[in-house]
Amino acid sequence: MSITEILFAVLTVVALFGAMMVITSRNPIYSVLWLILTFFAISGHYILLNAQFLAIVNIIVYAGAIMVLFLFVIMLMNLNKETEPSRNRWLKMAGVIGGGCLMLVLVAALRDIDIKDNIANVGHGDIGLLKNLGKELFTTYVVPFEISSILFLSAMVGAVVIGKKN
């Protein structure tokens, strides 16, 4: 078993476990922390896949900015208690069964697909480097890039408008 395989296995287990804990923790603070752990594991996967830039961005944006935002909000609202009333048990069960079935169906849908030879090679390739991505981003995808800045602006305005006291 090569080192990359070990890393893959470890990261996978961490990501899945973290995700499970996100949805099972009673305390929202713990959920946020577990989610951050999950994001770190996913960033690890990105590095394994030679997407170094994305890995860093993921940590900065998600784990850093977004999750801290979540944390702030939770703390602002003083929700760090196990205040959430439990949902209807049957509905909960239905939710779990529904999600499980969806996973089952999606996996089962793959059974006929011939992708055994498709390998996501780990450890090689420089496509994920900032230089290459930046070149691509500012040539081919320059228009979406600029539009996304407008999206940000409008999101910012929206957040301010919504958050304002009426």
Partner: protein, 639 residues
């Protein structure tokens, strides 16, 4: 005048025009004009009919096809008229008697409002049109159109004074009773179409006679068809068991009773059977049934007539009885005798009805003979013509009734002496009740109110002239059929109609009884009838039975309780069934079903509405489940 037969369409056309003009413009026209249009159109028809008759008398007869009425695949029903000896005689009777009654009506109905006067003449013209269609049609479908048309007109005219509920009831009764018969007629037509693929008389009657490989009708078919047709005839011609509508039909104006319920429409059944005589000749069973039903009807109606006190009811039951006679004649295979009796009966029964109308007119609407009496002093013409009518219907020698009735009785004697005996007994009853009627009405002392006595008068000329004409016809009408035992070869009607019944006569064979026997039969009946007439005359002119009938007489006065029996056996169970359906089926089953569907949808939607909880989680769950379903279908079920 090359070939008047091609102008046959004019015969029904004139009454149709009269109907349309009178019916549509009844508010614009005035009474004399309506009367002229109504009567004139019938007179024009009568003239054309007369010309046709003269042509037919010279040996012409034809089927004239005007256009294709119904055409489906290889089956077609042409709109065609059959002009031959039989139909030409009926044409004369219908238009001739019809014309006289129209003239009579102009005076009789004079007190009606103008629009009702116009409506009356429109109905009357429509009736004549339908009757002509019935008689002239060259196939069963055209006949059926006329058949239904006369039924409709009969309904309309019985209920002419529609403001009285009991009159409407009588009209409904007539219509429904006729409908029962019509259904049978219709089934018979379908049966014929199924077998022959044609409804023309020529084709059907030819098919009936085909034998061997070409045979179309089995014995069962023939019996079935003829019995169904006969049931149709019992409805229209008021025979047992469907006769009860005819006495109630007297609710209509008296001229209507004379025209429709005595002279013409009720003879439609006889015409139909005479027209399809070969079918009947080939099915002896049906002939026997007709004989016995005719005989039973004649006897039953005659007994009822003995105790009726309404002048029109007596005549109505007498009509039923005489129709029974005609069916008796048909049943014995004496088709010519039946047609002969139709003709003479049309004369004297129209005369009697019109006479009774004149009496009722004079009495100011009174119809109860117990309140009349002694009218002969006041109404000379009516009295005299009514007496002639009574003598004719009683069968006094020298008048028309004698010849036709005697011919029927002679044929009955050939068939069986028992039938003859019952027929003769019925004839005696007829003489008795007719002279009871005559004596009670015209002889003795007047029993009505003083006011009525003061009001008594002879009717105007428009009423008396038709009476006189009909009286003359009632006397001389019989001389077209002088029986062979009086003068050989003088039965001109027989020789005239022989082409129509030729095949039947060949099949039935000639059964002649000796002239001496016939003399004897005629003598016996004449003597007996004269005795009865004298007995009735003396009995009722001195001491009319004005008191209520008791014992057996009450049974007769109440018409053997046949109406009550029908009420119990048919109407009540039907009403109960209807009530059951109304209460149970309607409310619980049908309403329950309809309301149940509504409630189910209501309930279901209320339950479905709960899905719309407004909670996002539920929506997401449903969304996931739906996605799941779509995936499942996409990946697993598509193969």
């Amino acid at each position: 005048m090359s070939n008047i037969l091609t102008l046959a369409y004019l015969v029904p056309l004139f009454p149709l025009i009269g109907f349309l003009v009178n019916g549509l413009l009844r508010k614009q026209l005035n009474k004399p004009l309506i009367g002229i249009i109504g009567s004139g159109s019938i007179l024009a028809s009568f003239i054309v009919s007369l010309l046709i008759f003269l042509q037919v008398k010279n040996g012409a007869s034809d089927v004239i096809t005007y256009f294709n009425f119904i055409s489906v695949g290889d089956f077609s029903i042409p709109f065609a008229f059959q002009i031959d000896q039989l139909s030409s005689i009926f044409l004369l009777i219908i238009t001739g008697v019809g014309f006289l009654i129209h003239v009579y009506s102009t005076s009789y109905m004079h007190e009606e409002k103008t629009e009702h006067f116009g409506r009356y003449f429109a109905y009357l013209n429509l009736f004549v049109f339908s009757m002509l269609l019935l008689v002239m049609g060259a196939n069963y479908v055209i006949m059926f159109i006329g058949w239904e048309g006369v039924g409709l007109c009969s309904y309309l005219l019985i209920g002419f004074w529609f403001k009285k509920p009991e009159y409407n009831k009588a009209a409904n009764k007539a219509f429904i009773m006729n409908r029962i018969g019509d259904l049978a007629f219709l089934i018979a037509i379908f049966w014929i179409i199924g077998k022959v693929n044609s409804v023309g008389y020529t084709e059907v009657l030819a098919a009936a006679q085909a034998t061997g490989d070409a045979q179309v009708f089995s014995a069962f078919d023939l019996t079935g068809i003829t019995i169904l047709l006969f049931i149709g005839a019992t409805g229209k011609s008021a025979q047992i068991p469907l006769y009860t509508w005819l006495p109630d039909a007297m609710a209509g104006p008296t001229p209507v009773s004379a025209l429709i319920h005595a002279a013409t429409m009720v003879t439609a059944g006889i015409y139909m059977i005479a027209r399809s005589n070969i079918l009947y000749t080939l099915s002896p069973l049906t002939l026997d049934i007709i004989t016995w039903i005719g005989l039973a009807t004649a006897l039953l109606a005659a007994t009822i007539a003995l105790k009726q006190n309404d002048i029109k009811k007596v005549l109505a039951y007498s009509t039923v009885s005489q129709l029974g006679y005609m069916f008796l004649a048909l049943g014995t295979g004496a088709y010519v005798a039946a047609v002969f009796h139709v003709m003479t009966h049309a004369f004297f029964k129209a005369l009697l009805f019109l006479g009774s109308g004149s009496v009722i007119h004079a009495m100011g609407g009174e119809q109860d003979i117990r309140k009349m009496g002694g009218l002969s002093k006041h109404m000379k013409v009516t009295n005299f013509t009514f007496l002639i009518g009574c003598l004719a219907i009683a069968g006094i020698p020298g008048l028309s009734g004698f010849f036709s009735k005697d011919e029927i009785l002679a044929n009955a004697f050939i068939k069986s002496p028992v039938i003859y005996g019952i027929g003769l007994f019925t004839a005696l009853l007829t003489a008795f009740y007719m002279f009871r009627l005559y004596a009670t009405t015209f002889l003795g002392k007047f029993r009505g109110t003083h006011e009525q006595e003061h009001h008594l008068h002879e009717s105007p000329a428009a009423i008396t002239i038709p009476l006189i004409v009909l009286a003359v016809l009632s006397v001389v009408g019989g001389y077209v059929g002088i029986p062979a035992f009086i003068k050989e070869g003088a039965h001109s009607l027989n020789s005239f109609l022989s082409p129509v019944v030729a095949e039947s006569n060949t099949i039935l064979g000639e059964h002649h009884i000796s002239h001496s026997t016939e003399w004897m039969l005629a003598g016996i009946s004449t003597v007996l009838i004269i005795i009865v007439v004298i007995f009735a005359w003396t009995k009722f002119s001195k001491r009319p039975d004005t008191e209520e009938a008791t014992g057996f007489g009450k049974v007769l006065a109440d018409k053997w309780y046949v109406d009550e029996l029908y009420e119990k056996i048919i109407v009540n169970p039907l009403e109960k069934l209807g009530g059951f359906f109304n209460r149970v089926m309607e409310t619980s089953v049908i309403d329950g079903l309809v309301n149940g569907v509504g409630r189910l949808v209501n309930y279901g939607s209320r339950q479905l509405r709960l899905i719309q909880s407004g909670q996002v989680g539920n929506y997401v769950l449903l969304m996931v489940l739906s996605m799941l379903l779509i995936f499942a279908i996409q990946f697993f079920l598509r193969k």
